[in-house]
Symmetry: C2
Subunit: 416 residues, 2 copies
């Protein structure tokens, strides 16, 4: 009897605090099955397949694989690398298939956002065309929550919880300082094209007067006068004002605020950063302000991940394997919401053809009429996603992370 085939798993694009939980779901589920031999992980995503750099997960301790659930970042390395269009350039695909054949790989699991699902789809089409025995399953991941069909994207719930918690905490800070010091606090969060993450800050608020008072989302064109008026009014009414701004906040003409060419006190051009640009506007009306840019902190903050999100991240990894074993191909596990309260969900499958290259932005019904707040409908969507605090263990005061050996399999092919 032949040895069962192997599976290839790789992480792609920006990582999250729970993408390794999906990896854990894939590896643990494969290890329980007799139909797939083992998981080989691509070093730095799809590059690992092209370069024949494959980590052999069968060499890892089970206990360390289990710790992937509490390890942020991409444990096998991720990449920002898009395969060429197969019509223009078949070479990359043929190399992939050559490597897969050399290592008896018949399952391709690719964990990423929209671009990565597009890649998975292209690989599946090419494999089908060449009549290769390759099952291709996409696994959703993105803090941006912009994948279609799925109710939410694994990775988002945790960044949403981080942003809501940070807004609550920093809001208390600035409130207590506001009488004689800082009046306005600005928190810049991720979201270049969609305001999901900024919108999640609204979950910090119990009453209408609670922070965040102003949420800036890419879906709502930024109007400086309207913004400044709202800041002034909020400071007049509440004594302070908390602003949460998407990095992709932009003017009506599409220009990002972060690209608006402002300079610091020395005349140096500020690199990126919508928060310092807003801070400068607020300083110019004489209000003392502070700003924070959470950048990678928000998407790697496993210490404040959402249990819902972590469970879903694991579940899509597990389900991806189950789909493959049941004969599905060219699909991605998606989360379907069954009810808001109590929150219930299940995993279904969606065809990659419907997922690739579609970007989901905030629906208009989730944004208040003034464009600065989130409606109850939006809050009802968001709230379940940040529920629960998953267990996490610490050593010497910092979180314990998986210690993988990441042992490469022996190469069988010449260099790419």
């Amino acid at each position: 009897m032949n040895k069962p085939a192997n599976a290839f798993y790789a992480q792609s694009g920006g990582v999250t605090s729970v993408i390794n939980a999906s990896a854990c779901g894939v590896i643990e589920t494969v290890n329980k099955s007799s139909k797939i031999n083992k998981v080989l992980c691509g070093k730095n995503g799809i590059l690992g397949a092209l370069n024949e750099e494959l980590f052999d997960t069968s060499k890892e301790k089970k206990s360390e694989i289990a710790k992937l659930r509490q390890t942020p970042g991409g444990a096998f390395g991720s990449c920002r690398f898009k395969l060429q269009d197969p019509i223009k350039q078949k070479k990359e695909y043929l190399r992939l298939f050559e490597v897969f054949k050399a290592h008896n790989i018949e399952y391709f699991f690719y964990n990423g956002g929209g671009d990565s699902q597009d890649t998975t789809f292209k690989v599946s089409k090419m494999a089908k065309k060449l009549k290769l025995p390759l099952t291709c399953i996409g696994i959703p991941k993105t803090v941006d929550n912009d994948l279609p069909i799925t109710d939410c994207s694994p990775g988002f719930g945790s960044v949403a919880k981080y942003v809501a918690t940070s807004t609550l905490e920093a809001g208390l800070d600035v409130k207590s300082m506001s009488e004689t010091s800082t009046k306005v606090f600005i928190l810049e969060v991720m979201g270049r094209h969609a305001g999901w993450i900024a919108a999640a800050s609204a979950l910090a608020s119990k009453n209408e007067t609670d922070p965040p008072h102003i949420i800036l989302m890419p879906e709502v064109p930024f109007v400086k006068k309207k913004f400044i008026d709202k800041v002034k009014q909020t400071v007049a009414n509440e004594g302070f004002c908390v602003v949460v701004a998407s990095e992709g906040t932009r003017y009506k003409n599409g220009m990002f605020l972060a690209d608006s060419g402002l300079t610091d006190a020395f005349g140096h051009k500020q690199l990126g950063g919508v928060a310092p640009v807003l801070a400068q506007m607020i300083s110019s009306i004489g209000l003392k302000n502070h700003w924070a840019v959470s950048d990678y902190l928000q998407r790697s903050a496993r210490h404040i991940s959402s249990k819902t999100d972590l469970d879903q991240a694991y579940a899509v990894g597990k389900k991806a394997v189950e789909f493959a074993l049941s004969g599905k191909n060219a699909v991605m596990p998606v989360i379907r919401r069954l009810s808001d309260k109590p929150y219930k969900w299940k995993i279904e499958s969606a065809s990659l053809s419907k997922v690739a290259n579609v970007e989901k932005t905030l629906p208009k019904s989730y944004i208040s009429n003034d464009g600065f707040r989130v409606t109850n409908k939006g809050l009802n969507y968001l709230r379940p996603l940040i529920q629960g605090e998953p267990p996490i263990t610490f050593k010497d005061g910092v979180p314990i992370i998986a210690k993988l050996k990441n042992i490469l399999v022996n190469k069988k092919l010449s260099n790419y």
Copy 2:
């Protein structure tokens, strides 16, 4: 029999994630004692005393007072407001004493950093001079860890844990992206004159090659070429580089990298934005980078506070009351370290005359020869301070905070 006298408690300067635990320690200890009637808290620090705006803590539920242990920010409002020099301007002191007399206040508890201890000292001297029955106790608080005599300052251990954890997490993120994307990540943390907070990031590291690779502290003059060389070398060796920079990073001539030219009420320069300045330097050598500025997030992040720090914050509040009851005056509770491993500490008292206006920076022996790392001696000092994860409860996905009524007592005097 006369009613026992009341105590006044107020919060001063920048708040922390555990300053309310000190408030809790004061209030709960007073409530257990028959010698002090109750605690009246100044609304917005010392301003509350001047303006006769006093919150009556006896109107609060015990359960909400207990929740102060898990509520960041300043629950009664803080202030950046320094009393005038008593020799030049006695008016403010006389007003304070008038308000204290009107509300039967014979205990003055002032919770703050170096400037606030100076205020407490001045009040105690003036009260003594006027032979008033006022016991003055300072309660230490500052994320900057720059108070003298005390082994550490309540508030610091929690920001240290936040920074160490965030460095660990973001380090994993950038490591996984570094092959094809971001090579350098910069985290800007607080610390104007002392590098304690930046130094704490070293606790993220288990091996010499782990992040953070470069720590910039105000104690070490910044030399651009040396910095850039170290970044290049780290990227060459490790594939990526994590930099943690104090906001107060400065050149040999004393100029801050991020000098914005603004000053606060204490005359301190307002800083912000060393990260984008460093990012620009790194971009100019062609290395893709990301940067984060944690600002208020770090000092309000009660969700990742250190248990050691929280316990000490409560303990200095409790001890302040006990000192007052035992007849001590013009003192501040300080933490004395009894051993590193196992970590043991106790509370002693220090004379305010020795605390006021002394700033403790990082000892040279804590900084590596190249100026970019923390020595083992420094790590041994820092490590115990971030130990332990105190309990915290959540509702609807975000931390539960104390809901105080903050009811003002009736005014008895004319407006100030």
